[in-house]
Symmetry: D2
Subunit: 259 residues, 4 copies
């Protein structure tokens, strides 16, 4: 399955600033990058650095005045996914080093607060079945409401407020999973069928000795998700961090499944 | 119905401090104080001041070294309570001045956060029936766990953590009620059958043009509650505020229904 | 000294809602209301209720579609203010009932957090001299930056961020004062020379057995402040609370000192 | 310079639980581990995994009933440290991948909140001189008060409260540094002269293309610090995480400089 991705970001900076970009498709075994181009209106050369967990990359750049960014990519996704219900959770003490940080609370995800709820609601299930029940709960209880959350909204807020966007859905599922002893990380991604079309945030759960993609919003089919980067929560996967102030002029993300 | 109340507080102060006490039974039409005595080991005379909403009283005192407080009271409660389900909620714009502050969020109760949940879960009900459904939800979902919460725990925390003590149950019900447009205030009280026996916190809801007592923990029969004071949340009804540091040596609350 | 006040609020509501307005000048000994008019495009009669601490008033109203509010007033202020430095702080145990709630932390003002700082920075001073030093500190350390704070910003946030608007300045001074044992309440007000001209928020400190106006932003001369209402923090003195959603179309506040 | 480290942890578990231990000295170029022994009363073999940033290690273990842990080590520290004032800060856009995560806010460190303060207080300085001024500010303004903070205390709380322990000092310095664009990470460590003797938390700043140890409490000489692990904040460097509940019976940390 091939996807064509096209991104356009237009910002205006009052003063020169360093910018960290994280919009490029990660080259990974289940998503092969056929080709991509990043064009930036920068006075200096771009400086790519490895992304978190050595997945994908971030790009440092210098911006001044008009910041015009254009990214296009073609990527082939061939993901062989076992059914969620067949996946198993390992006891914590058998987790590898790479999964350990994703068991801990993080900035937007105070996962330990969810423990009694997760135990009482999902305690009778294990592994993939437990994760599936969490996804069902979120689908039933949460409303997707653009504008209902903001940059400081954390997983506990979303649990109380019962509304949010993809970022909030992801935080909530990650909070539930970690509270149940299942490592969970957040993934920035491209996917078709995201409405309104934008950068998307989904989740990877560590089950049966590997990371498994799920989308708590239900908008993206996990077979059609193209990863950009991974991290503990929204902090780590921001598509752009401007170390200064800027005004957004225009922004567009297009993801099309090629026939 | 008569109750005998006996309280003993023993604290040790390293330095002299002013202390605000709020443990005396409020004289009110539905709870007639037959007699009470407050004895304090203070170097200065006690200074009573009116309590919040002109209900009950607080007492200022000066303490140094050993602070030994003893309070005993006999009170007759004759409360004629209409069934909760018969009570009606007024539109906000008909609320009197005394109910208005209890519609607003307060320190521990960010009630506006609960609005979508309250609307989706209880939106089909009105007035007393809505309040009864909130009480049922709390009874089903919350676990009474002494030590699970602390001084900074707010209503949203309790909603996430699904456990707490009387203070947390009260905050949560008040949060739900205010989110539904029902003014709600917190009441410090004495009641028999509170286990472990201690100062108790319950709730008053403004319905059918009056305040109506309910106990979200279900431990106290509203006919057997003896009010001390009222306020917006735990901040206002603390039984003792020491403007300095002190160590608790012993503390005992006894409430007995007289035959 | 006479002031002419003129307010215009234009909002658009998608659905009918109850609205609580708090924009009318409070009739008080040191600010005599010569005349005022409130006009509201409401389908129902307005319902005034007493304001907090029985100062001023709030007005309930019903709104639907276009909400057009116009308020104009002429008020004479004759305030005899003793110099701040001559005012004295009473020991907490001598405070009257009306001052007690203003010693406590409130929703946006976790005053107890400031105690070590307030003790180390202002501990050597008393009463009015201590308050003056707090005002000096705020003037030196805070920057008035419209847009830097938002509805959830609390006093501790403002202390960390060192910027905000009148609401944040007031929260911070109140936090300092309460941490020092000086009761402090927040006052919504009109004043000339507020830039940009808008509703203003200032502070009253309880010193020498009375409330004394101060403006931590330094924009308003305390002799020229016209009070609307008082309360524990921004929660209580909102100029308008709409129990539903609305869009602001236009808003204007004019305060002119008459010659 | 050689150090002998001796740690004893005694806990009691009501139910079997998985435990993540992070107390072993990291083998690194500037701290050579001459020998160490970890003894745990566990029914299963210990499972070591690499620590964060591939520094040091964590150890998974299974515990039940009595958990008795003993760790002893001898380590040689030969740290060649350039003077702090000679170190230089790179522009953000030249930072390598390993430093990038340490520029971001994390769970206990909302570093972006400190930006205006850091700019106004330290804005005239650069690199090591800026860091030195931050250390001076912390030394002058903070009081080391065991018990003044708790598990939820964040950097902003410590900034407001002006007191705390090594964890809070480290969070605050890291918050200042990140707000100034200097990557900063938290380090769990052993050091002599820590009073009371315990696990210690210090900071590494990314300056002049490398990590440089500093101790914002001033208790440990950076030449005498023995690193255990590194991370974004206290979350990552906990010496023990028990996935269940346990009671501490006894705990002792001894660090002695060998003659």
């Amino acid at each position: 399955m091939q996807f064509e991705i096209d991104v356009m970001l237009d910002y205006q900076l009052a003063e020169p600033a360093d910018v960290l970009l994280q919009i490029e498709v990660a080259q990974m075994p289940d998503q092969r990058l056929i080709g991509d181009t990043l064009t930036v209106s920068s006075p200096e050369p771009l400086r790519p650095v490895a992304g978190g967990d050595a997945i994908g990359q971030r790009t440092w750049l210098r911006a001044d005045g008009v910041l015009h960014i254009r990214y296009s990519a073609i990527v082939e996704v061939t993901r062989r996914r076992p059914p969620l219900l067949t996946l198993e959770a390992a006891p914590a003490r058998l987790l590898p080093a790479e999964a350990v940080p994703y068991l801990m609370p993080s900035r937007y995800i105070g996962s330990e607060q969810f423990e009694p709820f997760v135990e009482s609601r999902f305690g009778g299930l294990e592994g993939g079945a437990k994760a599936a029940a969490m996804l069902d709960w979120i689908a039933a209880e949460m409303a997707y409401v653009p504008g209902a959350s903001h940059g400081a909204t954390c997983a506990a807020d979303s649990f109380v407020e019962r509304q949010g966007v993809c970022r909030d859905y992801a935080h909530l599922l990650i909070g539930f999973a970690r509270a149940a002893g299942i490592p969970a990380r957040m993934v920035s991604a491209y996917a078709p069928n995201v409405a309104p079309q934008d950068f998307h945030a989904v989740v990877e759960l560590w089950l049966s000795d590997g990371w498994h993609l799920v989308d708590p919003t239900g908008m993206a089919d996990p077979d059609e998700i193209v990863r950009i980067g991974v991290g503990r929560d929204a902090t780590d996967i921001a598509f752009m961090t401007i170390l200064g102030s800027a005004e957004m002029k225009a922004q567009r993300v297009d993801v099309v499944r090629l026939p």
